[in-house]
């Protein structure tokens, strides 16, 4: 019995630790600024409001800000970049995901199913690349992208994010392809299919779930990437959400609930991905679908 209680207490602590900061963000985004900033803290004296979300998407200034001078909160145009940032981030992350799934799986297949000279060098070369600290390459990346005339374009970020994610994709998919029984492919070969056809018609469909997993992983890494997005895509047109968030965190003109609303909008795709999709995939990978 004591053990049961301990388990539930531990579970509660882990739950609060994982969800708490997010729940607070959601809470913070609907409490009017005047209540949030009160000292001593009285958060619940005014009615919660969706006005901040409204402003971010439509530009409609919250009523409280127009009424009384004394309670006029701070407001900034910068949060109006959020919808565009959402679009930028999504376009980039989806493109990165596609590149990873297509090119990553091709490379992984050759590592898993072929024998050739220089294989282990190539493989560890690709995987090791990711171990170079990102910041160490900041200056050369900037100069190279500048040289290519791609500064402040989404294409630059798609390229760079692909480099950052491909090593993981190749590693995971190689391990996965190896776990597919060779006999299935041999049967296809005997029926006269060449390696390319075997790959497309047999191996790919069999590994759909792990492709989805690595694809989503690449999406998440790209959606979260900040360092290069900040350096290479400084302009308003290509700013991704993490860059906007970091800029807002140092912007003293932004009303706090407004900022929290922006943060929560940023988090929606990751929350959906994690809870709805990713968990099934992770469980599938770790436990191989077996119950224990």
């Amino acid at each position: 019995m004591a053990k049961r209680i301990f388990i539930y207490i531990a579970a509660l602590v882990v739950f609060l630790f994982a969800v708490g900061p997010l729940a607070l963000t959601l809470l913070g985004s609907v409490i009017p600024a005047a209540s949030l900033l009160s000292v001593p803290p009285v958060w619940f004296d005014r009615k919660p409001t969706l006005a901040y979300y409204d402003y971010i998407f439509t530009g409609k200034v919250p009523v409280a800000y127009e009424l009384r001078g004394a309670e006029r909160g701070m407001i900034t145009q910068e949060v109006r970049q959020v919808p565009r940032g959402l679009r930028n981030s999504s376009i980039i992350a989806v493109a990165v995901m596609a590149i990873n799934v297509v090119f990553g799986s091709m490379a992984a297949y050759s590592f898993a199913r072929m024998r050739f000279r220089g294989k282990s060098v190539t493989f560890s070369g690709i995987v090791m690349c990711r171990l170079l600290p990102a910041a160490a390459l900041a200056v050369p990346f900037y100069l190279i992208i500048q040289g290519l005339g791609l500064l402040d374009t989404r294409l630059a970020l798609i390229l760079v994010h692909s480099i950052l994610t491909l090593p993981f994709t190749v590693l995971i998919l190689t391990l996965f392809f190896r776990s597919i029984p060779l006999e299935i492919e041999e049967a296809a070969r005997i029926d006269g299919a060449d390696p390319w056809r075997t790959f497309w018609r047999i191996t790919l469909p069999l590994s759909a779930s792990s492709m989805v997993a690595t694809g989503l992983f690449a999406f998440m890494l790209s959606y979260s990437e900040f360092l290069y997005s900040n350096i290479l895509g400084g302009g308003e047109r290509t700013r991704t959400l993490p860059v906007i968030m970091a800029a807002l965190s140092t912007n003293t003109d932004v009303a706090w609930p407004m900022f929290m609303a922006a943060v929560f909008i940023t988090l929606i795709p990751t929350v959906v991905l994690v809870i709805v999709v990713w968990n099934f995939v992770v469980e599938g990978i770790i436990f191989g679908g077996s119950k224990y």
Binding site: I7, A10, A11, V14, F15, F17, A18, P21, L24, L36, L37, V39, P41, W43, I99, V102, F103, M106, A107, S110, M114, G125, I126, C129, L131, L132, P133, A134, A135, A136, L137, A138, V139, P140, Y142, L143, I144, I163, L175, R178, S179, L182, M220, S224, L227, I231, P242, M245, A246, S249, T250, M260, V263, V271, V274, I275, N279, I286, F287, Y292
Partner: protein, 295 residues
Amino acid sequence: MASKYELVRYPIHWLFPVLILVIIFTIYPFGYAIYTSLFRILVVLPTRPFVGLKNYAKVIASPYFWEALTNTLIFAVITAPITVVISLGVARLLLTRFTGRGVLRAVVLLPWAIPGAVAGVLWLWIFHGQYGVLNALLYRLGIIRTYIQFLKDPRLAKVCVMVAHIWTQIPFVSVLLMAALTTINKELYEAAEVDGAGAFRRLLSVTIPGIQGMMIVALIYELIIGITAYDLVYSLTGGGPGGATTLLSYYIWQESFTQLNFGNGSALGVLVALLTLVLITTILRVIPNEIMVRD
């Protein structure tokens, strides 16, 4: 084992896209970083004279570099083991049967999926000195009379950054350790129980030996993540107060893109790469057996 595959020519058409990206954007840039680190490149100046190793000398002589280096090493050495230990507990918990486990499993990955720059903001609200949640809570509970400036005090700010960083890291390490824990033979636990081993004894004699390989991998992985941490610091403290939470990656960015000294930035980058190289060689010794085991 490899003999069941036929030996083929280098499959360049399978590897081309990945190789070209990796070469253009990792190997070439790293060479380029070494090259630029030998020149004095200030964006504001038109000339780029060759200065040899002077950038390195300047960087190493700078007290800010040593502060960032010390901060980074302390940060990595403290956060990595704490993350692994807490994650072991979380992993163990998630493998225990209890009502609501499904919900917990669904949400426990959340902190990992959140962009680091955004995680910094979430914790900024908790630790904020004027309207932070923690201050409000402590005040309401009557523990404090005036708000604590968590992020303005060098020591507290360091702790805050570590807490936030560990928060983002626990989910992934927990998943790794969960995978390792499921491979331990259940009969070992039963045998230990029959022999009268208590929970703590079982942890030391069965659990930890069973997953030590993965624990070491996780530890090294976390050390590297700690050494290269950047985005969280950027949005939580901006490296401050003073340079109290400036980590190496943040320092490189500052030197390169706010001081616009590309020569120094490159030299710093090369130094950090060398630092992680030491860790990477260690990793290489550990990882291959792990992958074999999983195969």
